[in-house]
Amino acid sequence: MLRTAVDLIATADAALIRTIELSLAVSVGATLLSALVSVPVGALVALTSFRGRSAVVITLNSLMGLPPVVVGLTVYLLLSRSGPLGTIGLLFTPSAMVIAQAILVSPIIAAMTRQTIEDLWTEYRDEFAAADVRPVARVIALVWDGRFSLVTALLAGFGRAVAEVGAVIIVGGNIAGFTRTMTTTIALETSQGDLERAIALGIILVAVVMLVNALVWTARRVGQRYAA
């Protein structure tokens, strides 16, 4: 059984490759889409004080554990024919999967960004005040100096996205060759008894997760060189 699984990987089985490609594309897309919003939001929360800020920070932190199926269900309701965004016709497409995963990982990226920027700001604020650094230049400098931690935040978001099954299976519909990712394929093939394919994808998925962690580790090490 394991042999067949390894063979599937070694022979670069076309359907297997397509599944891996879709999975990676959806999760990378979701991470980048989320970053466009989450990094600025995280930085904004870090650098401003307003009424209810603590509540926002606590909410952001607790949303990191958002259940994927709940995100999937919410996006499903929004995108379904009778939902508020039903007319766009995105349900059961890779775009819907990108949206769902982007929502899922946004609290992670925003919360980690906030923490990073806030810590740096505490450390840099006197110097920036003394040097009259303008607000926009401050944000750019903080994001740049936090770059290694922010990369870690993006990788953490991607790691969560690529490994989840609940959200994509609901909004993607697990359509063969169209919205079938590594995780949804594993769920399906296992229930249908095609364990070789499931094992092959499991091996790939674990390899991807390990690679992501290796990158996190590298980013941290390089970051430490500069943080000292």
Binding site: D126, E127, A130, A131, V133, D145, R225, Y226, A228
Partner: protein
């Protein structure tokens, strides 16, 4: 006072300036006349208000009593904190950032960065991560970064507090070179030897009050107050 610094115009005057925060009076009744171009040492034990005085002069905080009056236009000021925070970048990267914040046009940053790094003796270390430098090197980079603003008034808060004798000497030489042309330098120190080696004028602070001010020569030879006599004699002022 009868030395040559007498005829220098005043850069600023503090008129019964005080500062309190959270119910604690940190500085009281500080009246000072700082002359342009002088190298002034603010001395006094820890907690005497030296750092707060520098922050007031830098404009990072405002006096809660009295005031600070600048003669003519306010000079460009720069401060080097006791524990400077360097950016998570290379030595040159820190300076490029400082120059860009100071409004130096991009095409002049490389040249100025080189000049400043050569001045503080860090040119050969320009590609190192700044926070990996030794304590003395970090202090010198912080001084170079402050100089990127082309200040007329440079404030140094305990610049050698955690440095060994060799690094202290290098930094003191640097301070002398900077102060010579037309930059006023105010540094704080609790190191009496340093005040003696560097300063033209002394301000002795104790428990938030100015105990004595005057030329360094006078201060060390004929101190007027008991505290100054004790401090100058090397007694511990508590």
């Amino acid at each position: 006072m009868s030395d040559a610094s007498e005829d220098r115009p005043a850069l600023f005057e503090a008129d019964r300036a005080g500062y309190s925060a959270g119910g604690v009076q940190i500085l009281s009744d500080v009246s000072l006349r700082i002359r342009a171009g002088a190298l002034i040492a603010v001395i006094g034990p820890n907690g005497s208000g030296k750092t707060t005085l520098l922050r007031l002069v830098m404009g990072l905080i405002q006096p809660t009593q009295g005031r600070l009056t600048w003669t003519g236009i306010m000079p460009k000021r720069a401060i080097v904190f006791q524990k400077p925070t360097l950016l998570r970048r290379t030595v040159a990267g820190n300076l490029r950032f400082a120059l860009s914040v100071a409004g130096v046009p991009p095409d002049q940053r490389e040249a100025q960065s080189r000049d400043l790094l050569e001045l503080v003796g860090l040119w050969t270390l320009r590609d190192r991560p700044a926070r990996r430098l030794s304590g003395g090197e970090q202090q010198r980079l912080a001084v170079a970064r402050a100089l990127a603003r082309r200040p007329k008034l440079l404030l140094l808060d305990e610049p050698t507090a955690s440095l060994d004798p060799a690094a202290t000497r290098t930094l003191e030489d640097l301070v002398r070179r900077i102060s010579r042309p037309d930059t006023t330098v105010i540094l704080t120190t609790h190191d009496l030897g340093q005040a003696r080696r560097l300063a033209e004028e002394i301000v002795l602070l104790h428990r938030g009050r100015v105990i004595e001010t005057g030329s360094a020569a006078e201060f060390f030879e004929v101190p007027k107050t008991v505290e100054a006599r004790r401090f100058a004699a090397g007694d511990l002022l508590l």
